[in-house]
Assembly symmetry: C2
Homo-oligomer: 206 residues x 2
């Protein structure tokens, strides 16, 4: 049975994006290190239609994440800032469900990616993703606000943090805005990559 | 050659203590999970003169930290809130240098622990500790404010975080108050314990 996972790059001080996230800087200011790392991995580059990159434990972990994903859920901000960069052949290669307040017809792109716009809440988006994910996982891709919504709603089964050895100091923190709805976690795996620590947690259901 | 290390228990959301640190609650409110974990380890219990506890990878990592330590530096808040709990046979078993504004005579305790009060800055405290540490490391024990002073002053060679699978939500963050003096880090080791992820970083000198 597929699970709902959130696989996220974070700095050692807990940020998943820098400040001033925008179309020209989707990862925010000051957070280049998070995105430069993944762009150096062979598995990521293949997904983007690029050659080269390192074939190491980090690349393997990221490749496994892509391979296990059957559908993606993301927030409107991530979609809006990513759209122009992804172009006609986006790197998801699965159905993507975008949480938004504005209804829009589904966009079918090349390579297996489609964008369906969901105007209900995160639970509905996850259910719609699950319905088409087959044996694959539903991946909560971001941004921070959407991951936090999913954690507060209790729909996440697994959190996997790819922790980069960098201190960013400011930006969007993964674990902000959870209030009393902070999930209880169980550590299920720790892996050492060349450039990151990969920490996997199961979210314990109450 | 011995190094200056800071070996710290942190929650997955980056806190090294909870809120309202006090003599009756040195670890702060809401942060019990950090301290319960270490109290369950055989190596920690031995240091406290207690029997029992788990003999696993976590216990080994913490035991190695104790064994490698030749002298300790701590802040006055950590000393003041810990003093009564440590009693006449404190668990350090090395010279301890306490940063304070108020001069006080050195206290010699049982079991190899002494407390020397240093009214100069963190650099002086580290140099005095280094002078008596022999082949052992100088360990910056805490609290958060003292670790941050040491990071800003550039005197830390190694950071080792024992990351507990718990979200605390509020308290004292390890990486706050660094401003533009955030150190550049290099990941040198990642180890999986039964109850924690042990992440080791070298602080890169500019």
């Amino acid at each position: 049975m597929a699970i709902v996972t959130a696989d996220l790059m974070v700095s050692l001080d807990g940020f998943m994006a820098g400040t001033d996230v925008s179309v020209s800087k989707p990862g925010g200011e000051g957070a280049d290190a998070l995105h430069e790392w993944i762009a150096s991995l062979a598995s990521w580059r293949e997904r983007q239609g690029l050659s080269g990159g390192s074939r190491d434990r980090d690349s393997e972990v990221i490749g496994d994440w892509f391979d296990a994903t059957g559908a993606v859920v993301m927030g409107r901000m991530m979609y809006d800032t990513g759209e122009a960069h992804w172009g006609e052949d986006p790197p998801f290669r699965t159905p993507v469900f975008v949480l938004t307040h504005r209804p829009r017809p589904t966009l079918v792109k090349q390579g297996g990616t489609s964008f369906t716009f969901v105007t209900e809440d995160i639970r509905d988006a996850v259910e719609r993703a699950r319905a088409v994910a087959g044996d694959g996982n539903v991946d909560i891709a971001g941004g921070a606000d959407t991951v936090q919504q999913a954690l507060r709603a209790g729909v996440v089964d697994q959190l996997r943090l790819h922790v980069l050895p960098v201190l960013i100091g400011a930006g969007l923190r993964l674990f902000d805005n959870l209030g009393a709805d902070r999930p209880r976690l169980e550590q299920v795996g720790v892996a050492e990559g060349a450039g990151a620590a990969h920490l996997t947690y199961r979210v314990v259901r109450p």
